[in-house]
């Protein structure tokens, strides 16, 4: 939980919701992202 200070630096940026934060550590979702990211990186590498 981020404590925001109105009109200060940390007041303006978006912060992740609970669901987003959970998805970042969910083993199932992250295993899927691991595969997707590796494919993306390999596609990038293959361009050279």
């Amino acid at each position: 939980m981020v404590k925001r200070n109105p009109y200060e630096q940390n007041y303006y940026p978006p912060v992740p919701t609970k669901l987003t934060r959970w998805s970042r550590v969910s083993l199932l979702w992250q295993s899927f992202r691991f595969i997707v990211l590796n494919i993306k990186i390999l596609r990038m590498v293959r361009k050279h």
Binding site: V2, R4, Q9, N10, Y12, P13, P14, V15, P16, S23, R24, V25, L27, W29, Q30, S31, R33, F34, L37, N38, K40, I41, L42, R43, M44, V45, R46, K47, H48
Partner: protein, 484 residues
């Protein structure tokens, strides 16, 4: 029989050496000259810097690898290049000075037919008063620096456990620094380690950098698709800093580092001071200071090298304002325009200009990141230059291979905390590295290949890459299957 000499055994030079050896028969000699006995997977120095890894986990001895590969290794520092030879040598050569214990200080002249300069950066701590691990700030640029930083961090954690509140500053120690990504990784790993140690509430952590905005990374930032918008990496970075409770000061040129205080001036001309108990500030980079001489012994360093000490290659170095910069200014073959048998790869080549927009404050102080040349492009350059030289040696009538950063993608995985189940990493991909607003008017880059996300998967990839690249660098079976 040809002689290929490679200066430097980092990501670019070592990759070039292994690929050249793979393609060239034993009748051709490959010589690597580097001052350190060890190869270092530099990206993992971040983890050494927080104590999560030991130096032995990010390094290995080069000599046995080169012996097995039939590559001659000279543990020495190149001092000067003589591309026309001299009065007593018809062949071009490099003067070297040994650093190998037992031979330290001895000099030698090493003749070459082809030369690759892959000497990387000089860590120019001297550019800022008081900067550097021998003075008042810390670094993670080498595994030695990182180990020292980890030791000091450990002491600070103990002090916080006893109830002290401490101030941490992480970022860049000069207005012309590059490699913000490394400092970015360090600040998040530091924050993560303080959380783990249960002392996060006892620490104020501040980012201090020369970027015009957070998320610039020396590449002018990236526009990417997030949550139904095309948004700048600044938003992505600010969100992350806010989420982790980190403060930030950008547009800063550090002028002086004292034991517990750093002074800086900003792009708007204001000056400021920040107090700290711990400051990890990266130095600016320059070339390693190689000299060049012609046959008569006249200094021709400025013919081969730009003023910043990096080697001139096939880039367009005509000075021009930001709005006239073009992707085609960037080099493609990395061949020196004067001496066609000399190439420079990785950090050692002179970029034509920045990627981030150059800026100066009212005092005339330049404050903007210089262009990064990260691991993936450095490795690719090493490989394609090795292949070009192999073609030349084998007299294949082929054009030189090309790998322009304006036509190359990069994947950057920035660790944001190390842990198998609770770690995280920021996974960024971009194509091309040099933005092209003529080709991609809305985003500067191909939005399909320019992405960013944070999560545990990023940590897994970063950790897997650590093992994969060390495996590759050790030239273990099928090493070439691991792409650069």
């Amino acid at each position: 029989m040809a002689k290929l000499v490679i200066l430097g055994a980092g990501i670019a030079g070592h990759t070039a050496a292994l690929h050249a050896r793979r393609k060239l028969g034993r009748e051709h000699e490959i010589i690597v000259i580097a001052p350190n006995s060890k190869w270092n997977w530099i990206p993992s120095n971040i983890w050494v810097g927080v104590g999560w890894m030991k130096p032995e986990q990010v390094t290995f001895e080069l000599a046995p690898v080169y012996k097995k590969q039939h590559i001659t290794f000279k543990q020495a520092r190149a001092v000067s290049i003589h591309p026309q030879g001299d009065s007593s040598h018809a062949q071009p050569f490099v003067s070297i000075e040994y650093t190998l214990p037992g031979k330290a200080g001895q000099t030698e002249q090493v003749a070459y037919d082809y030369l690759i300069n892959a000497t990387g950066p000089k860590l120019n701590f001297a550019a800022t008063e008081g900067l550097g691990p021998e003075k008042n700030s810390l670094s993670v640029c080498t595994y030695g620096h990182a180990e020292q930083t980890a030791g000091i961090l450990k002491e600070h954690i103990e002090r916080m456990k006893k109830g002290e509140h401490l101030k941490f500053v992480v970022g860049t120690g000069h207005g012309m620094c590059t490699c913000q990504g490394a400092a970015f990784e360090y600040i998040f790993n530091l924050e993560f380690e303080l959380q783990k140690a249960g002392v996060r509430d006892k620490a104020t952590i501040t980012w201090l950098s020369n970027e015009v905005e957070l998320g610039d990374f020396g590449i002018g930032g990236m526009l990417l698709k997030r949550g139904g918008y095309i948004t700048h990496s600044r938003i992505f970075a600010e969100s992350l800093f806010t989420e982790r409770g980190l403060d930030w000061i950008t547009q800063a040129h550090v002028t002086k580092v004292e034991k517990n205080r750093t002074h800086y001036e900003l792009l708007n001309g204001e000056t400021g001071t920040i107090e700290h108990d711990f400051a990890m500030l990266l130095p600016p980079f320059s070339g390693v200071g190689l000299k060049a001489f012609d046959k008569e012994g006249t200094d021709i360093t400025s013919d081969l090298f730009a003023a910043n000490g990096f080697m001139k290659v096939d880039a367009d170095y005509t000075p021009k304002p930001y709005d006239q910069w073009k992707p085609s200014d960037w080099p493609k073959t990395y061949q020196n325009p004067l001496y066609k048998n000399i190439f420079a790869v990785g950090i050692a080549f002179a970029p034509p200009h920045g990627i981030s927009k150059p800026m100066k404050n009212p005092n005339g102080t330049p404050i903007n990141p210089t262009p990064p040349r990260t691991g993936m492009p450095s490795g690719v350059m090493g490989r394609i230059v090795a292949y070009s030289i192999v073609d030349l040696i084998k007299s294949r009538n082929k054009p030189l291979r090309e790998a322009s950063m304006a036509n190359m993608g990069a994947a950057c995985i920035a660790s944001a905390g190390a842990g198998l189940f609770n770690g995280s990493g920021v996974s960024m991909t971009m194509y091309p590295i040099i933005p092209d607003f003529d080709k991609y008017p809305e985003t500067g880059r191909d939005i399909k290949y320019t992405t960013g996300e944070i999560g545990l998967a990023g940590h897994w990839i970063k950790h897997a890459l650590h093992y994969a690249f060390i495996y590759k660098a050790k030239a273990l079976p099928l090493w070439m299957a691991v792409p650069e």
